[in-house]
Amino acid sequence: MQRTRRRGRTCTSPGKRVRLLVMRLLPALAALLALLQAAAAAQAVPDDGRWTMPGKDYASTRYSGLDQLTPLNVQRLKPVWNFSTGVLRGHEGQPLVVDNTMYVVTPYPNVLYAFDLTQPDYPLKWKYRPNVDPSALGMACCDAINRGAFYADGKIVYNLLDGHTVAVDAASGREIWNVKSAELSEGETTPMAPIVVRDRVIVGPSGGEFGIYGWAKGFDLATGRLVWTARNAGSDSATLTRPGVFKPFYDKGANLGLTTWANDAWKTGGAPVWGWLSYDAGLDLVYYGVGNPGPYNPEQRPGDNKWTNSVLARRPGDGALVWAYQFTPHDNWDYDSNAEMILADLTIGGGVRKVLVHFDKNGFAYTIDRTNGEVLVAEPFVSLNWAKRVDLTTGRPVLDSSKFTGDSKGNVKYICPSLEGGKSPVSAAAYSPRTRLFYVSTVNLCMDYHAEVKTRIRGTPFIGASTPYVAGPGGHMGAFIAWDAARGRKLWEIKEKYPVWSGVVVTAGDVAFYGTLDGWLKAVNARTGQPLWKFKVGSGIVGAPITYRGPDGRQYVAVYAGIGGDWSLLSGDLNADDPADMRDPADFIKDLARYTSQGGMVWIFAL
């Protein structure tokens, strides 16, 4: 106290000094004001520093308005904390940060941890351990993963692997409701992250490899009561398609979910919902991608197979279908369309259009009018050879018939991209309104495709194709790219040795973060693509980094380590927890296990 007063007395005429300082700083202040105005234009609402839903916002931009981390200082980023989740499976998804609490959902058995960010060492406030049916492990096609939770109305809402959806009190960890949302015995599992819009929780199933009959369901947020079920194929009544409400841009006719399937194949035709959902409040539309038709042998299901491999726009309140667009009709290659739909307003052809941007497994990046489903731009973002282009007048891909598959076609060689996709739907891209660029983790693999006839046996895999992979053109298996969706062109790319399988976050400091399969978290300059910083997190990254403001006002970055998902099946030798399961490495990725193995960790970084 005394010292402070003494200093104050030595500082004569403080008012005059401040005025002088202001005069000198005026030009800088004006520049700062202009910058702030530009930032405000880019994002109307200042960032609250939280991360309450998987995609950061309803537009699924994974853009944070926090700007403390910049290309000039991010080199000083350091780990400040980490925590083993105690689970070894693929850690997809991302933490949430709400009210100075970090929420982490693990892969099966789907433990929910709540860390107190206001205390030293971030101790747990509570953990919630649901009772999950272990038989779900035999119904999950591609590891026992979970893609995260959604915070709404004081509740953490998420799915358990075994077809249950729960709401947990965010403050206490008390289970508020726990409902059966999917039918495990049919091969339905639920690793996706729900979206909550007003009082509706929307959920969908995995099971495109188990011959499910796919759907989306709307539950009541307060009680968990089922309000509506919308099938993704079948009759208009089953798909909640109503005359006068459903107005697709390209397709005509009634019962398209029936008439585009021969032999009633829609009944076991897949059409899962395992990706990310978006919402436009102005249009009151929820957007989600639908996955592959089953089985993989297309000759067992003649027709377009609507609405597999499509984007559907529905009213969240009652599930009514408003428009739909099919990216890959009559899928021959397992090109699911579950990847995120990022909502942005872009200048195209001289006018500002309300669009959604989607990087499909099929290798095309689509810029679509989100009011009606019209495709405005569709260009390849990776090497592809199954189609020549997308015809914007019909919305259909122009196919290369030499790449058609089926049991009568034998082994069809070298199809690009592989069924891992030009981008995995797992690895959600990000959009910066400052740079007007999309930041995308991509995969450069090609495949042979040998289809065979399969019979569906309830609760067993319904696949029917053998599809070995090779690295695509150039030999690298992945890249991190920046994409201009208004023009359909790649601005820059960073080649990576392995497929890039992580989500992305981009910030108002113009830094983008992504992770690699060999376990590096990387920061790059969002404008130039210049690599700025990297840190090895101990296991491959298949989750999505986030950024948030801590209780101390500082900007933090968080990410999961924990390789898995498809890579626990594909790479052969990453798993070390079962002495009775010894596999050779996969031919196309023989040395991945030299650099990483399983391990679930939450990491937090700061300057």
Partner: protein
């Protein structure tokens, strides 16, 4: 088994005898069944492992005798292996067992070297 309705009440694995043991024709039929019954969807083509463990590495979570493998297929196992006892007759299950037992166990040394 089906009448009892409780999977674990079947005969003990060490009392089960494989009537097809070592029979190549049975093993070949078992290989086809491994595909047609969708076993390959989880355990991979050639049973080399995919979403579910390898069955061709000579190592077994729940025992590698013919009887133990029969029991795994018939009754299922806790971490996701379904019970096929109501779908497949004992004759069919023995063909699958005979196929899996016919797979050459690799001369794997437990060291992977780069």
């Amino acid at each position: 088994m089906a009448q009892q309705g409780v999977a674990t009440l079947g005969p003990r694995s060490d009392t089960l005898r494989n009537p097809d043991a070592g029979d190549q024709k049975s093993a070949a039929e078992g290989e086809k069944l491994f595909g047609s019954m969708n076993c390959d969807g989880c355990h991979g083509g050639g049973a080399t492992g995919f979403a579910a463990p390898s069955l061709s590495d000579g190592r077994w979570r729940y025992g590698g005798t013919d009887g133990a493998i029969f029991q795994s297929i018939r009754d299922g196992r806790p971490k996701g292996m379904p019970a096929f006892g109501e779908l497949l007759s004992p004759e069919i299950i023995w063909k699958l067992v005979t196929y899996l037992r016919s797979l050459p166990v690799p001369k794997t040394v437990p060291t992977q070297s780069w």
